[in-house]
């Protein structure tokens, strides 16, 4: 059985880390979660980013957050990647699998997956 005691153990483990983590994130991944995004499948995309970023050891430098409608509803699910000192990258028509690929190639490897970007979309 899962218990609140386990959360206390997480708390004890995290207390020191939280201080370090704040302010260090240089990359932000933002998933559009308005009606249009949700209807198009944004929920599993967000979930895949959260899992891949954390399981991939990027938690210290990448944050994953949610936003409302980006204004390009026909291209949802839309994901924007903001990196310090670089142009914003907008990924469109995302899926959970594409999300994992973006984490591997772009966030880890530093190479934008151009085939999924809005610039490459008909």
């Amino acid at each position: 059985m899962k218990s609140l005691a386990e959360l206390q153990a997480i708390k004890d483990k995290m207390k020191d880390k939280v201080v370090i983590r704040e302010g260090v994130s240089s990359t932000r991944v933002v998933v559009g979660m308005a009606t249009c995004g949700i209807a198009a499948g944004a929920r599993p995309v967000l979930s895949a980013f959260v899992e891949a970023v954390n399981e991939g050891g990027l938690a210290g430098t990448v944050t994953v957050s949610q936003t409302g409608c980006v204004g390009l509803c026909q291209y949802e699910p839309i994901v924007e990647v903001y990196e310090a000192g670089k142009d914003k990258v907008t990924y469109v028509k995302m899926t959970a699998d594409k999300a994992k690929e973006v984490v591997e190639k772009h966030l880890k490897g530093g190479k934008v997956v151009t085939e999924y970007t809005v610039a490459n979309c008909e």
Binding site: I10, K11, K15, V18, T35, I38, A39, R43, Q66
Partner: protein, 182 residues
């Protein structure tokens, strides 16, 4: 929406946007009915706005002029012979909005609930500073998650910490397994 749990995610986003500190999401399944209630203590809506929210051409968004959240929920409920009711107050003493949707589960056009666990986890991940009380009652028992209790145990560690998110997922999985085995 392919799943009712996606409508729930969408409607609850409105509660958070209205500044709710606590949003109560309740699903009650009894016989062939499913009642969904989303109750928040956000800023509430004036009667004037309340009369327009079911209209797809009303929206709070600024990026375009159509708002489909409530109309989609209403359609999903009415397709099964059910209905949606919205009560809202902007009074200082009891401000907030309650959306209640009734569904008939055995109707051919009933949208399956889908992955409600993922909806709850997504809400907490996206809004770690607001509280959610989730309850799901069926004929065999109840699943409950109260982020206020988690917050007490976590003593300041944010709810969107990955380890916490994983714990919540596992906790909900376990609760639903217990419910299914009853």
């Amino acid at each position: 929406m392919k799943e009712l749990s996606l409508n729930i995610l969408d409607i609850t986003e409105n509660s958070v946007k209205a500044g709710a500190t606590l949003t109560e999401i309740s699903i009650v399944e009894s016989g062939d009915t499913l009642t969904l209630t989303i109750k928040d203590d956000g800023c509430g809506m004036s009667d004037e706005i309340l009369s327009t929210v079911e209209n797809p051409f009303y929206t709070t968004r600024t990026t375009r002029k159509v708002g489909l959240g409530i109309p989609l929920l209403k359609m999903a409920a009415e397709m099964t012979g059910g209905k949606v009711k919205i009560v809202s107050s902007t009074n200082e003493a009891n401000h907030g909005t309650t959306v209640t949707a009734h569904f008939f589960k055995n109707h051919l056009d009933f949208t399956p609930l889908g992955d409600i666990k993922e909806t709850i986890v997504t809400l907490i991940q996206g809004h770690p500073d607001t509280d959610f009380l989730f309850t799901h009652q069926t004929n065999s028992g109840e699943v409950k998650l109260d982020t206020r209790e988690l917050r007490v145990a976590l003593e300041g560690v944010p709810l969107d910490t990955y380890e916490v998110i994983v714990w919540i997922k596992e906790y909900l999985n376990e609760q639903y397994q217990l419910l299914d085995n009853r």
